[in-house]
Structures are given as C-alpha cells and as structure tokens.
Amino acid sequence: MTAPETTDVAASIPDARRTSLLRFATAGSVDDGKSTLVGRLLHDTKSILADAYEAMERVSKERGGEEVDLALLTDGLRAEREQGITIDVAYRYFSTPQRTFILADCPGHVQYTRNTVTGASTADALVVLIDARYGVVEQTKRHLAVAALLRVPHVIVAVNKIDLLDYAQGPFRSITQHVQTHAESLGLTNVVTVPVSALKGDNVALRSDLTPWYDGPTVLEVLETVPSIDQGADDFAAAHRRGIVHPTAEQARATETGWRMPVQWVLRPQDAAISPEHREYRGYAGQVAEGTIRVGDDVVVQPSGRRTTVAGIDTADGPLDQAHTGLSVSIRLADDVDVARGDLLSSAADAVAPERAFHAHVAWLTDRPLRVRDRVLIQHGSARVQAMVTAIDGILDISLPGGTLDSSIATGHELLLNDIGVVRFQLAQPLAVEDYGRHRRTGAFCVIDPQDGNTIGAGTARASAPGIGADAHVTI
C-alpha cells in the first residue's frame, strides 16, 4: 500500500459547483471492520492526505503492525485512541468527480441506537456491515430496523471479510437471502448487498478480480448513483432507467405531494435595511423542507390555518420562480397575515392539519427513563412546544417473531436508554406533525429535557390514530 498520489490535472478536481451531495451513514457491530471500511473508502478515493497517512503509518508501526491500519484514520478522540474504540459519531468528507460525500461514521457498540439513529436521521443511504463469517446477527437486525424506522431511502449491506472465506460465493448468497427476507418484512424494499473485503479493498471502491461470480456494483458505485433525498422525481426516474435503484412508491409519492417550509425568521428590516427601497420589505425566511414552492401557489399558514398565496420567492442573489427542497429562501405572501417563527408554511393542496396530540416511535437517548406523565419539550421544524407523555404503548423488541416493525412491539411502560418505543404525546399548542412515512422532515421531531435543555429523544410521528389517551390501545 502506498500513500495517496497527488494529481495536478485540473479537470479531475471534484468541482462542488457541479457535483451533487450525498449524505450517508455507516453502521456495524464491534469488529465488523467498519473503521477499516471507512478508511478503505477514503484511501481508495484518494481522500487521505499525506500527513494523516504518515501519522497512521507511524502509529501502526509503534503497535507492531505490518500493514498500515486504515481504521486508525477514524479514531478521533484521545479517549478512543487510548481504548482503541470509537465512541461517538464522526463526520468524514470525500469526493469523486461525480459526487461529494458526507459520511456519518456511527460506532456500533454501546450507545448503538443513539449513534445509529443520529447518523441515519440525515442519511440518504445507510451502509450496514456484516461479518461474512457470522452472517445476520442481532445487531444487524437492529440496524435494519433503525433504517426502516427512519426511512433511510437506500440501504447497502456490505458483507465484509470475504477474504477470510476464500472469496466463496455460497456464504454471500445465503446472507443476501437472509438479509432480503428480513428487510422485506421490515418494509425495506431497496437493500443492496455487496461482497467486500475492506482490509484487502475488494468491491469497496474498486471491483475485485477475486469475485468473478458477483456482477453487481461496488459500494462506491452504489453511493455514486443513488439519488439523494433532495432529488426529485426526474432524478429517481433517471436512476431507475440506469437500473441502479428502485425508488419506492413512497418516495415517488413524496415527490408529487405538496411543499412544506418551517418559518425560521421574519425578515422585516425597517431601519436595518441594507438600502432604502427594502425598508418595508417583509418576507418569511426558511429552508424548503419538502417539495417545490412556486410563485402564485396557494399557501396555508399553520397552526393558524390562514390562507394566502406566494407573492414572491427571494434570495440575496435575486428572485426565483420556484424553490426546491433544501434551498434557503425568503417567501413573500400576498396578504398581510400573521406569521411568526415556529409557523409552518405549506401548500394549500395536500395541506397539513395541526394536532393537539399524536403518537410516534421514539428512540430514547438518555440514561433517565421516559415515563407516562413526564413533561418534555418537542422540537418540530422551527417550533418548540411543551408536551406531556400520555401513554407508552410498547417497546420495539427485534427478537420477537414476525420480523415486521409492528409485530416487534413488546409490552413496556418506560423507555430506557437505547430503547425505541411507541409513545403518545399531548401538546400545549397544536403542531403540524405529519406521518413520518410520507413526510420525513415534518414527521421528525426531537424530545428535549425542559430542565437542562439536552436532546433526550428522537421521534418519528405516525399517522394519527383514533382514541388518543392514557388508556387507549391501538393496533400497531
């Protein structure tokens, strides 16, 4: 193995003005070789700089290793270096001429749910590692369940350490079958399995000669071609035609539904205007959470329910006719309606209905248990409201038979650290919370401790169910 080569060809420099951005996360159990896989991706895409590589070489030698340990690259904090483990989600950056990648590297042992949920929440794709010698283990099921819960659009299962099985096809085939069966029962329809050796570099970024029986893509090829969350229907269709991915009906539908934008700030400069003609400007600043906003669209302001139309879409660089998902803009409305930070603008077609109560899957991220009648804060978009837990309907237990998310709910009345449960909330003010299955942005929320302000839970709202209350039981 040699240090990354320099390149002086201007044309080969990834150009962020043209590439698209993909966020992905990695998850695996201890010793699955996840750090090595991440190091391998960075190494083979020539993303490791010389001084970082030399530092790895030095440490590898000090530890008596013969080869450079690529896993060292991702051991960031001193506590981790001392213990030889990874304790917290770390973010890595690399690019190819096609794409820029943001990698959330999620450690797999303690705090597994907390870390995987954090990484998966922003991910367009999740790479799950499996040790080919052991196949699908409990941790794998847990990672796939998190992917299903958080609706990560694409899952890549890297079946690692195939070098230790002499690159045999049999184990890979049976693991693939096992993964697909399990994924299907979880409702994951877009799972790709890839046979890899992170240590030797097979099928990670470079196609292996040692797996002639495998004609699918490498891990990097999948990452380079799957559509990102921000991409619309056209891109799904284009990728589909190339035979790369199979957009789910859900994703296709999400691109056809209306738009959403939480209001972050009211732009009303008055005396602080940068020039006199903007003195009376009034716009509502936010980032398009979903869909495409067009000038002239009918708008509903939630939770007030007031209706008006989009008079203009502004940016500091000039007005736009339309604004797509992910873009930060300022919206001018035709009528002088009352709009404040925390409100949600949505298209009148397919509008949101605000709710006083809702239920959700909640991943619990702190040591103190969550119990019925606990008071918390819910952060949803730019809104933050008080809430009370009215019921805990059950806890996700992936060891239950059936294998679907709904069949895996065991009885339970409190959520402990790393539990995922079904929780009902009553809200002090109505919120436009939507079904996460259809609206990844407006269905997501954080639970915040009202006393110390810490983020203690991650929630995905479910379609509203009848009979909200402490004694209500719904089929889930």
């Binding site: 420099i13 001084d51 907390r114 921000d230 205007a273 930060s328 942005r441």
Partner: protein
C-alpha cells in the same frame, strides 16, 4: 445559486450554502445575544458572507468579536476593519495584550499566544452576555473536530465535553442552554477546505492578500516558513530569504507558517489545495503539532 440548473438537485455548493444559512437563522432565531468570532480569516469571512445572505435585505443582526493576540498581520487587521465598516456592523475586540500588560496572563516561553486566547474569549462572552457564538470551524480540519456538533454546548468554563455531546438529529438544532452556559455554532461544519475556496471563487468574496502567493522575506523553522515579525524572535541561526509564499490560515504570526507557493489566483489556489498532500493545520500551525491531542485539549479548555 447557479442559473443553469435544470434538475431539482442542488449542487454541493448550493446545498452547503443553504444548510449554512439555515443553521445561522436557526441559531439567531433562538438567541438572546449572538456574536460571530471574526478574525478576517477565510472561514470567518465565509460565515459572515452567509449571514449577509441569511438576513438579506436587512443587515446582519449581530456583532463581531475578534480575540486579538497582538501578533496579527497588519494587513489582516486592516481587512477586518474594512469589512466591518462596509457592512455597517459593530466589532468588539478582546486583546490578549491587555491581559499580559496587567498580569492576568503571562507570555509562554515559546512566545506563541494562540493558547492565551481562551481567557479573553471567555471573559468577552461573559461580559457582553453572548449566548450564541458563531465560528468558522470545519469538521474536516482535524480529527477532534470530526466529532464536533454543529451546535455545541459549552459550560461555565467554556469547556467542550466530547463524551457528553447532544445528539444532532435531522436538521433540528438544539441551542438551548442554562444561564452561564453558551453554545458555539459552526455553520461550515460540513464544508471542506476545497468547498470554502470554490465558494469564495463563485461568490467573488474579498480576502486578505496573505492568502495569495507573494514575495516575502521568510526563514525556515520546524519545517515551516515564518516571517520576521515583532512577535517572532529571529535567532542568529535564522537566515531570512525572499521566497514566493502564501498563507493557508492567517492566525497568530508567531506560529502561523507560510507555504511555498506560486498560486496567486483563486483557480491556482484551488488546483493547489486539490493536489496538496498536507492538511491545512498540519502544514501551518505550530501549536497543533505539539501533540496529536493538541486540538482536543484546547477545545476542552474553551478555545475554538
């Protein structure tokens, strides 16, 4: 954003710009008194540029704070003041020199003042009542920073506790804090050095001239090119010579080294950065070289 976009997909730069604006608006939306740490360095310049976009057509609704080591390059200070004036903003300066003059801080034997910035910074945060402190740090700069949050809670001592960070989910940021605590907010968390340069190029953002190759008298020490400056003791064994150099960061002159370069335009700098084999901080900051954990230690102390 680019005009020729035919698909609904944002380019990397558009996505990063919108994310940065979102983060700034979100933090200001919940802040009592926000402030931006502004040194005149390229990253803080880009954060300020994003802030002007986030609040257009209004002025940026917060002050700037510079922790002046007293060892800054004159042209960076001039650039700083020019920028503040152009945007009609208010600048607060916390001076390390004041602390040395009245004995609250002592010079280090090696003469570097970067580690001395922590106390004046924390005092300024308390004295001005800042609760949200924007900075230009990026996760790709250094290993310890790869685990930093976009919104990072600091205790009464300004300390970062890497083992007790808030999970950051979706694009929901949580700047809630108790009296005495504050949050540091890093809108460029997901940018790489190359992204920053591409953005500066696309947006035609003005920078201090030090970033571009120029002839300068320099001498080599610990493998870095240092420039004779009142803060840098030139030893008898040092032999300054004229070289074409540029700076990749423009911090304290006593420990910020130049790199040999002929890159005098943004295109040339981008080509150089893309081809470079040394990470930014490794190349040019002597204080990061003290130990592998140097950055982590200083972050825990409350330095950026």
């Amino acid at each position: 954003m680019s005009e020729d976009d035919v698909t609904t997909t944002l380019t990397t730069l558009d996505a990063l710009e919108s994310e940065g604006i979102h983060i700034i608006r979100e933090a200001v939306g919940t802040a009592r008194k926000p402030v931006l740490l502004f040194s005149g360095g390229k990253d803080s310049v880009v954060v300020l540029h994003l802030a002007t976009k986030a609040f257009w057509p209004g002025r940026v609704p917060f002050e700037l704070l510079h922790v002046d080591t007293g060892h800054n390059f004159d042209e960076v200070i001039e650039f700083r003041d020019r920028t503040v004036e152009r945007l009609g903003l208010r600048l607060q300066v916390a001076k390390v020199q004041d602390y040395i003059d009245d004995g609250r801080l002592r010079e280090r034997p090696d003469g570097t003042r970067n580690p001395l910035q922590t106390v004046p910074l924390l005092d300024a945060i308390v004295n001005h009542g800042y609760d949200v402190v924007f900075g230009g740090a990026r996760r790709d700069e250094e290993k310890a920073r790869a685990k930093e949050r976009v919104v990072s809670l600091r205790d009464e001592f300004g300390q970062w506790d890497p083992r007790n960070q808030r999970p950051e989910l979706w694009n929901l940021y949580n700047p809630k804090h108790l009296p005495g605590q504050h949050v540091r907010v890093f809108p460029l968390s997901n940018w790489t050095e190359l992204d920053v340069w591409r953005y500066i190029q696309r947006e035609e953002i003005d920078l201090p001239g030090l970033y571009f190759a120029h002839e300068r008298d320099v001498f080599t020490r610990d493998g870095m090119w240092l420039t004779p400056h009142p803060s840098v003791r030139v030893r008898d064994t040092d032999s300054p010579e004229s070289r074409s150099v540029r700076y990749r960061t423009v911090g304290d002159a006593s420990c910020t080294g130049a790199v040999e370069s002929t890159a005098s335009t943004l295109d040339e700098i981008i080509a150089e950065v893309a081809a470079t084999r040394i990470t930014e901080r490794g190349a040019t900051r002597a204080d990061d070289r003290l130990s592998e954990a140097a950055m982590e230690d200083r972050k825990k102390e409350g330095y950026f």
